[in-house]
């Protein structure tokens, strides 16, 4: 069971690394969207600082959303998804492997590049740990919840907008607490409450979302 998890994780990572341009796209998108805001609103450090948490978090959200397609689309189209479902291993475990790979390929790079964007948006240095840790705890939840959405819409033609319609409302708690953690940290206050909430949501999503995704995939396959 663990070897199946491990092999699928490796397969997805290997596949992604063979087309690195695709890998970079969500990251470039993330940086691009964030840099639109100083142009659209105001480049003064005060204004930037005030909107920084929201802007960075919303951009991260959209970036993950746009990359969700990759999670199951290709496997669905070439039939590999059927083979995954015919595995003697629990589908939940395989789903978890795919989601983990997705997070390593999209969520983690966002976390790593976040300090740069903090710099862009005049986030003071003492708030950077909060930015990084909130993204570190929040982005896996985005992948986990997103997986449910993709598995429901992967068979739908032009399901992209539909996917956002389904998934974005479910992202709201993460957005609220993630952005607030950064906001509060900039004021020099403790953020452990916000981070604990994000951790709790991550634990909940980790235990329920793979199950829901597995059910959703079976529903999709039964077409």
């Amino acid at each position: 069971m663990l070897t199946a998890f491990y092999h699928l994780l490796l397969r997805d990572l290997r596949l992604a690394l063979r087309s690195p341009h695709e890998l970079a796209n969500p990251l470039i998108f993330f940086v691009l969207v964030v840099s639109l805001f100083p142009l659209a609103v105001s480049p003064t450090p005060d204004a930037l600082r005030q909107m920084a948490p929201g802007v960075i978090w919303v951009s991260a959200l959209l970036s993950v959303l746009l990359s969700l397609d990759r999670l199951f689309k290709q496997d669905y189209e070439d039939g590999s998804l059927d083979q995954l479902m015919l595995s003697p291993n629990p589908l939940m475990i395989l789903v978890l492997a795919k989601v983990f790979a997705h997070w390593l390929l999209t969520g983690l790079p966002l976390v790593l590049i976040a300090p740069l964007l903090g710099l862009f948006m005049s986030v003071p240095n003492h708030a950077l740990p909060a930015l990084i840790f909130s993204l570190l705890l929040g982005t896996p939840v985005l992948s986990l919840i997103g997986a449910i959405g993709v598995s429901l819409t992967v068979a739908v033609n032009r399901g992209g907008v539909l996917l956002s319609l389904i998934v974005l409302p479910l992202y709201i708690p993460i957005l609220i607490f993630g952005a607030n953690a950064v906001d509060v940290a900039m004021d020099g206050m403790r953020v452990s409450g916000q981070l604990l909430f994000l951790g709790a949501v991550l634990a909940l999503a980790l235990s329920l979302a793979p199950l829901a995704t597995a059910v959703a995939l079976r529903i999709t396959a039964a077409r």
């Binding site: 449910i148 429901l152 479910l170 609220i176």
Partner: protein
């Protein structure tokens, strides 16, 4: 017991029974609504702070209650449909969504109308209104998924699962929004949270709530019947029904 459930949940049987049930919900709905509105608009005393404008509460609050209640009904019946493969439960879920979305929309409109004299603007990012708005998005997502999938059975199951995921998330979303709101608006008085309510206001409020509830039951029966007829249009009993017309 199981046999009885299966019998009642056969679409044809439901179609016959529901015809008899509808008046039992529709007539009390009309009566309660008349009495409730009269009590609310004419009998209940004006509010010492808000004057007459608070009276929209008698529509707003029950509508907000119903919006949440219907989502839960939708998720529960979708769950029943998903687990026990009862088609009627799926149809109830599908038929509920537009009613729930309408109540949510009503709650939003009446809320913002109520807000105008209070805040001086139609829209404020108040916790309740924001939650209602997100709930409306959840309804839209459900309906969009339902209509995007062509195969009926897959559509029922997929959107049903989404409803269940939504119902797990609603408390989390709600409390995050409430928390977010207290954080950003600080001590501003929210007009919805009344510490106590005068009995003359409570009675019409409860009457209206009951009226809305019965209204939902009546409409869900009508809509589910409609759904039954549409889905079973190729079955013999529906064809015979049409020929009798």
């Amino acid at each position: 017991m199981w046999h009885w459930i299966q019998r009642f949940s056969s679409p044809k049987h439901f179609y016959v029974i529901s015809a008899k049930l509808i008046p039992w919900f529709a007539v009390p709905t009309a009566l309660l609504m008349i009495v409730g509105l009269y009590q609310g608009l004419f009998v209940a005393p004006p509010d010492y702070q808000q004057g007459e404008s608070y009276r929209i509460m008698f529509v707003h609050v029950p509508a907000a209650w119903m919006s949440l209640f219907i989502y839960v009904v939708m998720a529960v019946s979708a769950g029943i449909g998903l687990i026990w493969q009862i088609k009627l439960a799926d149809m109830v879920a599908v038929a509920s969504a537009p009613i729930g979305a309408s109540f949510t929309f009503l709650a939003l409109v009446t809320g913002s109308l109520w807000g105008k004299p209070m805040w001086g603007t139609y829209w404020v990012w108040d916790a309740r209104l924001t939650s209602e708005l997100i709930l409306l998005f959840l309804y839209f997502g459900y309906m969009a998924l339902q209509s995007a999938i062509e195969d009926q059975r897959t559509a029922d199951k997929a959107s049903g699962l989404l409803a269940i995921v939504g119902v797990v998330n609603i408390p989390i979303i709600h409390y995050s929004v409430v928390w977010w709101n207290t954080l950003h608006q600080g001590a501003t008085v929210t007009k919805f949270a009344k510490p106590s309510i005068d009995i003359h206001m409570l009675i019409p409020l409860l009457l209206m709530a009951l009226a809305f509830q019965l209204f939902y039951f009546a409409v869900i029966l009508v809509r589910t019947r409609n759904e039954v007829l549409y889905r079973e249009r190729n079955r013999r009993w529906v064809r015979e029904l049409i020929e009798q017309l």
